[in-house]
C-alpha cells in the first residue's frame, strides 16, 4: 500500500517536473538540456498536449484558435523529442459529421507509432492496474494500441498512485527502453525497423497504411469511450 508520506512526496516531485519545463528548455546548446532527461518532462507534456488535442477535436465545433495553438505546441514538443527529424503532420480522428472542414490529415503513422510504443512501454510497468495485457503479439502496433492503457494511464503512471512502484525513481521507468525509440527513423513515415520497446512487436511496415477506421478506434480507446475489444476489422 502506498504510505501517505511517500505519495505526497511523489506528488510534489511530479508537480515540479512539469514546471521545470520552461526553465531548462532553452536553446539546444544549453548545458542543462544535455544533462536533464528530456524524455520525462517532454513525454508528460506531450501526453497532455495529445489529450488536449483530442479533447478539442471532440467538441462538436472545435474552438479553432485553441486547436491551432495546441497543434503548433505539439509540433514543437515533437521537434524537441526528436530534434533532427522531419515533422510529421499531427493526426486527427476522422472528421465527425459536425466538423465543418477536414481539419487535419487523417493518418499520422509516426505519431500513432510513438503513442503505441509509449503505451506499450508503460504497460510493462509492474502493478499498473489500469493496463490490460498488451496485445503486442496480435499484429501491427496500430492494432496493439487497442490493448494497452489509454494515454490517461500514462499520466497516472507519473502521478502519485504509482509512486511506490518506482523506487528507483522515474528514470527506472525508462530503463528497459530501447533508445532507438528516439531515433530519427521513428518519426519518418513508412520507415522500417522501428522498435516499440524491449519486446519487439511486429514491424511497423503497416503503420503508414493505418486507416481511418483504426485511427478512429484508437482515438475512442484513448478517450475511454470505447471498451477494449478486438481490434477493428477493415469493414468497420
Amino acid at each position: 500500500m502506498l504510505s501517505k508520506g511517500l505519495k505526497r512526496k511523489r506528488e510534489e516531485e511530479e508537480e515540479k517536473e512539469p514546471l521545470a519545463v520552461d526553465a531548462w528548455w532553452l536553446d539546444p546548446g544549453h548545458a542543462s538540456v544535455a544533462q536533464a532527461p528530456p524524455a520525462v518532462a517532454s513525454s508528460s507534456l506531450f501526453d497532455l498536449s495529445v489529450l488536449k488535442l483530442h479533447h478539442s477535436l471532440q467538441q462538436s465545433e472545435p474552438n479553432l484558435r485553441h486547436l491551432v495553438l495546441v497543434v503548433n505546441t505539439l509540433r514543437r514538443i515533437q521537434a524537441s523529442m526528436a530534434p533532427a527529424a522531419a515533422l510529421p503532420p499531427v493526426p486527427s480522428p476522422p472528421a465527425a459529421p459536425s466538423v465543418a472542414d477536414n481539419l487535419l490529415a487523417s493518418s499520422d503513422a509516426a505519431l500513432s507509432a510513438s503513442m503505441a510504443s509509449l503505451l506499450e512501454d508503460l504497460s510493462h510497468i509492474e502493478g499498473l492496474s489500469q493496463a490490460p495485457q498488451p496485445l503486442a503479439d496480435e499484429g501491427p502496433p496500430g492494432r496493439s494500441i487497442g490493448g494497452a492503457a489509454p494515454s490517461l494511464g500514462a499520466l497516472d503512471l507519473l502521478g502519485p498512485a504509482t509512486g511506490c512502484l518506482l523506487d528507483d525513481g522515474l528514470e527506472g521507468l525508462f530503463e528497459d527502453i530501447d533508445t532507438s525509440m528516439y531515433d530519427n527513423e521513428l518519426w519518418a513515415p513508412a520507415s522500417e525497423g522501428l522498435k516499440p520497446g524491449p519486446e519487439d512487436g511486429p514491424g511497423k511496415e503497416e503503420a503508414p497504411e493505418l486507416d481511418e477506421a483504426e485511427l478512429d478506434y484508437l482515438m475512442d480507446v484513448l478517450v475511454g469511450t470505447q471498451a477494449l475489444e478486438r481490434p477493428p476489422g477493415p469493414g468497420r
Binding site: 512539469p18 514546471l19 519545463v21 520552461d22 526553465a23 528548455w25 532553452l26 536553446d27 507534456l45 497532455l48 488536449k52 462538436s60 465545433e61 474552438n63 479553432l64 484558435r65 485553441h66 491551432v68 495553438l69 497543434v71 503548433n72 505546441t73 514543437r76 514538443i77 524537441s80 503532420p89 459529421p97 459536425s98 465543418a100 472542414d101 477536414n102 481539419l103 487535419l104 490529415a105
Partner: protein, 442 residues
Amino acid sequence: AKSSHWKKLLNSFLIPNLSKRKADIISTVEFNHTGELLATGDKGGRVVIFQREQESKNQVHRRGEYNVYSTFQSHEPEFDYLKSLEIEEKINKIRWLPQQNAAYFLLSTNDKTVKLWKVSERDKRPEGYNLKDEEGRLRDPATITTLRVPVLRPMDLMVEATPRRVFANAHTYHINSISVNSDYETYMSADDLRINLWNFEITNQSFNIVDIKPANMEELTEVITAAEFHPHHCNTFVYSSSKGTIRLCDMRASALCDRHTKFFEEPEDPSNRSFFSEIISSISDVKFSHSGRYIMTRDYLTVKVWDLNMENRPIETYQVHDYLRSKLCSLYENDCIFDKFECVWNGSDSVIMTGSYNNFFRMFDRNTKRDVTLEASRENSKPRAILKPRKVCVGGKRRKDEISVDSLDFSKKILHTAWHPSENIIAVAATNNLYIFQDKVN
C-alpha cells in the same frame, strides 16, 4: 497633479449579481460614444444597458451613477441542423453606433449572427382612439358615429429595444470581433479565418475582405483573433493573429485584403523561448488609440503599444503579470493560458487598462510610466469605498498586504473592461458582477 489621481482612486459602485448562474457571466462591456450609456452582454444572450443619471443640483452626492436603462434578450440559442451543432447565445461583442437621432443603436453578436438593435424611449401614449373597445377589439363600424383624433398624453417612460437588422449566415467560424466604420455606413465582422464587410442597410449580402483559410486545412497554423477599423480613416483596419502578428490593411488597395499594407511583429526574445512561446504571443485584443496613431495589443503576459509607423517592434511594452511566466506549464494544463484578455485606452490615450486573475486589473500611465493593480471584489469595496492598490508578492518575504502568486484565484479573471470616452469612469466585469469605478477628484 496627474499622479495624484492614482491616490484618490476610486469610488466604487457595484452592480451586484448574487446569482451563480453561468448565463449571467458577463462576456462584453462597452460604453457608447458619449459615455451616457453602458452596455453589457452575457453568456445567456442578454444585453443590459445602464444609463448615467443626470447630475442635478439637488442630488450632488448621487453624481453620475449608472442605473439600469433597458434589458433585452439579444440572441437565443440556436441549432444548426445541417451541421448538427448548437450555436451558443453568448454575446461576444457589443459595439455602439454614434447617435444620430433620439434613438440609440448598437450591434451585438454571438458566434454566428450580428444584430442591429434600436433602443428608443417612449414617454407619450396616444389616447382617444374610438375604433377599438376597452378590450382592444375592433368595434363594428356601424356603431361608430364620431371621428375622434387621438391625443398624445404623457406616460411613464418606457424603453424599448427592437431588432432592426439581422446579419446572418455569413460566418462559417466563430465571430470574435465587430467594428463600426468611421463612415457610419459600414461595419466589419471577423471570425477565425475571415473578415466580412457589411452595409448597415443590407442584410443579405456582405463582402469578404480578408480570407486566411488555407486551401488545405491541414496547413492551418494561424487564426484571426481580433479586428478593428481605424477611428478616422474608413479605408483602414487592422487584424491580429494567434501568432502574435498584426496586419494593417487598406481597402483601397484591393477588394480582398489578403495582402497587408503593414505587418507588425516583434522578434522573439531567445532568452524567453519555451514550448509555450507561441501560445503566450497570441494576441487576444487589438485597439486603436483614439488619436488613430497607435494600436495596443494584449497577449497573455503583456500589453504592447505600437506606432503605426514602426512595424518591427512596439514602442512600449507593459508587463501585466510577469510572475506567471514560470507557471506556464500549469496554466497550459488548466487551459488558463488560453484566456483572452481585452485592453482599453482612456479618453486621452494616456492610460491603458487590462485585466488579470484574482479579480485584479491593471492600469499603466504611459507618461509617468507608473502602474497600479486594483481589485474588483465585493469584500474589498463597499459602495463608495476607495480602492486600495494591490501587490503580488513574487518570492521571498510577503508583506502584510501582499498576496502571493500561489494564492491567486485563477477562476476569477477579468477579461472585459471599458473606459468612459472622456471621463475617468471605468467598468470592470468580474465574472457575473459589474463594477463601475469613478475617479473621485474633488
